[in-house]
């Protein structure tokens, strides 16, 4: 992330870190509890590791990776189906770069591409619509993964395809919502944390008010944060302060871009094209109404309805990605980590996605190897 709005003085971050460590230690002395927070967003996982925040807080504040990495939480069966989609000669499959190396039960999109399947990496879903326009005699399918930040952009692609009345564009959507999964983590998974570092960019769409239930129902504090060193440090500092004062609240530390009610235009387009559906999450299972699927009105653009894709039940591996995204295991606790599972030969998506807990740990925190 670039340093557009960061204090000129790098000493600010260092001082903040000292303050935060001091307060966390005194809280621990008083209560015997090390402050433990979950960073919901995978970009935070990545940024906390890259900037060294995670390392400097080690032994003072425990930071657990959460479910906010779209690739990591995608159910294996969905991944297998998306790879199966690409196995047809006449189809062009477009995807974000994130998905390309995720291992399927048989192979990854990458290996399918190596063997000549037409798989294209795009930066924007709208590029996939353009590709469909340029290839009128071939089916173009976009693999639509993502949380609330990305779903409005997926909707924009559907809108464009609809306006142009493209017959050869469709989307395989497997999207996720933040609120239901946080609720599930707190009620069913009994995740032991003292607060949430809340996602910055999802909150752009959702708004600050979306998290009030954490306080009302669970007395759980949360701070919305940006991705700069100082932003993350000050957000974690606020969390420790609220914990110390036993006064949980939802705070917005990213006011420059996150508004109380989010982005209404994005919300509207998202719900024009998508409707809530039950979604299966890797490692968690089915969570009711935790995803969005393409509305019936636009069924012609729904690849799940357009193509008959059948995949079997995926094989079980010893990969613990599912536990990782619930904050129930750390990468070092997985028997495969760094040995059978590395970025070059990933077993699970947490090692593939740059913002996956295992990948970030491998790149930035690993001690040997």
């Amino acid at each position: 992330m670039q340093t557009l709005f960061e204090p000129q003085d790098p000493a600010v971050a260092k001082k903040l870190a000292q303050k935060l460590i001091h307060l966390a230690d005194s809280y621990r002395e008083r209560t015997g509890i090390m402050p433990t927070f979950m960073e919901v967003c995978g970009s935070h996982t990545m940024a906390l590791a890259r900037t060294g925040v995670k390392l400097i807080l080690q032994g003072h504040v425990r930071l657990l990776s959460g479910p906010g990495c779209p690739v990591c939480v995608t159910d294996q069966k969905q991944i297998d189906a998306m790879i199966e989609l690409a196995e047809s000669d006449d189809r062009i499959v477009c995807t974000f770069g994130d998905m390309i190396r995720v291992p399927g039960s048989k192979r990854s999109l990458q290996s399918a591409k190596t063997e000549g399947r037409d798989i294209r990496i795009v930066y924007s879903p709208l590029d996939a619509v353009r590709i469909a326009e340029e290839n009128p005699d071939r089916d173009v399918v976009f693999l639509g993964v993502g949380f609330e930040t990305t779903v409005p952009v997926l909707a924009a692609a559907l809108q464009l395809a609809y306006k142009k009345q493209l017959k050869n564009f469709s989307m395989w959507a497997t999207t996720k919502l933040v609120q239901p999964v946080l609720r599930t983590l707190l009620t069913e998974k009994h995740v032991k944390i003292n607060g949430f570092l809340l996602p910055g960019h999802v909150s752009i769409v959702l708004g600050q008010h979306a998290y009030q239930f954490l306080v009302d129902e669970f007395q759980m504090p949360g701070v919305i944060s940006g991705f700069e060193t100082v932003e993350m440090l000050s957000a974690i500092y606020q969390l420790v302060k609220m914990l110390d004062a036993d006064h949980p609240a939802i705070m917005n530390n990213y006011k420059s871009v996150v508004r109380e009610n989010g982005n209404p235009a994005a919300q509207k387009l998202m719900f024009d094209y998508f409707e809530p559906c039950d979604e299966a999450w890797r490692g968690i299972g089915m969570i009711p109404q935790s995803g969005l699927d393409i509305r019936e009105k636009y069924a012609a653009y729904n690849a799940k309805k357009k193509f008959k894709i059948e995949v079997g039940e995926p094989k079980k591996t010893r990969c613990r990605c599912g536990d990782m995204i619930c904050g129930l295991a750390t990468p070092e606790e997985c028997i495969l980590f760094g040995k059978a599972c590395t970025p070059l030969h990933p077993v699970g998506p947490c090692m593939v996605s740059t913002e996956g807990a295992c990948s970030a740990h491998y790149a930035y925190m690993r001690k040997d190897g």
Binding site: K15, K19, H22, T150, P199, S234, V257, R259, A265
Partner: protein, 74 residues
């Protein structure tokens, strides 16, 4: 969860804008930030502007961090 980059709007059309990220430019959609004006910054995700950056809040945050870091009382 979602990579978002601050980008400065340097040309504006109806539904798209040319933005500059530290000298690298690209075309992005602005349907979610239709009111953005040239010279303002937006957060870009997957080729779409998602939010206009409020520079006042950005400045205020910097002051807040500096105050937080230098305050003697915790």
């Amino acid at each position: 969860m979602c990579v978002g980059v601050p980008a400065k709007v340097i040309e504006k059309k109806d539904y798209t804008a040319l933005v500059d990220v530290m000298g690298t430019r690209m075309e992005v959609g602005i349907i979610f930030v239709p009111d953005v004006e040239i010279g303002e910054y937006i957060i870009v995700h997957a080729g779409q502007g998602m939010s206009i950056i409020d520079q006042n809040f950005a400045q205020a945050s910097i002051h807040e961090w500096e105050k937080m870091a230098s305050a003697n009382v915790i």
